[in-house]
Symmetry: D2
Subunit: 187 residues, 4 copies
């Protein structure tokens, strides 16, 4: 099975970074993309703290943690100024982009649509070559997430040394439909 | 030592109740007033869940749990529409009032000022006669909070049966200055 | 409804106290009796820590926390020397008595039988006059336990001042049959 | 730096397995060896649950979780019968060996000595070729443990396909001296 490349994200503005962050610009690094909403209980209680811990624990590794504010409900309550205050109060340090609004009549923002995310929190793992390797809707298990990151980081390291990564991989996983009840579902 | 009566709260609007809730109208019931801000991490993670559990566990007792949104920072991010969405997402069912803005130039809202609250979360216990018995800044311990509620409820029950409550009580406690670090401090 | 007096406990030895502790000797104090087994997961993870927190938080109150090792299974693995090591490693400081073995053929020890305990952990609340007021099988909720302790302490205080406690109380509660699954059931 | 091979363990008996488990017999599989004592609070509360979750989450992977009961204190309280009851009550399903007692006068058992473990809990990771890759004293972080397991599993898979693993690796990590306070230290 061929792996598909992760779509470039479409955003309107960024926090915690002097420049917009692009997926293309992160080539060579493993990427953890964390899609959240500031009023989503499961994101606040578990998803964002997990993303923050990944950012801290793997600070020395070729890994980028990127947040994406994918608002698909309560738009009036989660504007950029509210998000700015939220990121400040919750001490979130990694770059966070605001997902671009969908076209007329679509409450789902564009990146969320492009990745076919089911809701928030959603965790996406992208390998160092830009390929989508894992997408989990709901809170992801620490041990499993660690295992996936460890494998992607080792793979990236080998790839760099040998330039001989296999094009085919087992799975890569589509969205996991289960959710532990703390999720905000888009449909 | 005489106990002072808790000041009536001053609010601009209410959620989760068809009518505004007044302190005077709760005479005869023990009151737990929980002052919070929707972007205060300690409120969201621990204070509000505790208030909700009190509301559920003591549902049959003469006890009222009342929330008070005391916004003293990031005002633009925590308006009534944002609060409405927040209460919906976090499934908070008890009545919540919005503390009235302070006079010109004062970022501290009026009820918060009247109670001399230091920040959020703050838990206030008011006895069945309307007297301020306990005010805790920061997350309050479940066992201690339970003990205080149990004593106030028993006292209220005896009072009703005998109309002979002592006017003097040991303490009643002003605000406790300690905070475990998860608080939003007003100063 | 009259409240029954709690039966005196029957023990073979004690830890963390120079003298055996008797229920009669605790008259005038509220008593929390915590029945546990050192190999009971629910006791170790939740029951004993809760009892310890009560002992610490109410250190200044007329309240005694007493442990009772009610072994009804795996007797060979939970003898006095094993218990001594356990109490040391888990830093349990309150007095702990070893429940006396049942008569020939009865695996249930004597105090456990006298209180008709269903298993471990079991928390028993005894008022300052020695009356059994509450018995909970399984982990007890912190807020509810606090409320019960607060009411019993206030009652004891009033009683002392006025010597006029009501003989009748609402309930007193027999064993609660529910258990959250972490209990060791005797039957 | 060359990696050293993990020493074979020395045991007197086993639980949860029909046959003794040897390290040599696990060649080709990644091994998580969890050294614990049944009366060590940090092992019971966190180390053993983590090992159990690894066993469950990676049930389909070429990974073996093995427990080792390394008793270096309170020997009389942690004999084989006590351990049998403990494993039953805590529902531990993976194979557990009893570390062989040290020679005359040495309270440290033999495998614990051979690995120079500092106390319990200790988590040891051994790669599919039998080499010692990581040894952590104290509770190990879920995300980091997951990352290490993920990397070792990927490495094992590549190794099998290509038989060309690098003999030299970065580190492998000696014992981490820190402990979060819940550990039982051997010295």
């Amino acid at each position: 099975m061929s792996l598909r490349f992760a779509p470039e994200w479409q955003t309107t503005r960024w926090f915690n970074t002097p420049e917009p962050v692009t997926l293309a610009g992160l080539r060579g690094r493993v990427v953890l993309l964390h899609a959240f909403q500031m009023l989503c209980p499961g994101c606040v209680a578990r998803g964002l703290p997990q993303a923050q811990r990944v950012a801290e624990l793997f600070a020395g590794a070729p890994l980028a943690v990127v947040g994406l504010h994918t608002v698909f409900e309560h738009h009036e309550a989660m504007g950029p100024e509210a998000l700015r205050a939220f990121l400040h109060e919750y001490r979130i340090r990694f770059p966070v982009g605001v997902d671009a609004p969908g076209p007329q009549g679509d409450p789902i923002p564009r990146t969320m649509r492009a990745y076919a995310m089911q809701g928030t929190p959603t965790t996406v793992l992208i390998d160092a070559r830009g390929r989508l390797r894992r997408q989990v809707f709901g809170v992801h298990d620490d041990l499993l997430l660690g295992a996936e990151l460890g494998a992607l980081l080792l793979e990236a390291e080998h790839s760099e040394q040998r330039s001989q990564i296999r094009e085919e991989e087992e799975g890569g996983g589509g969205p996991r439909p289960e959710c532990d009840g703390d999720c905000c579902s888009a449909s």
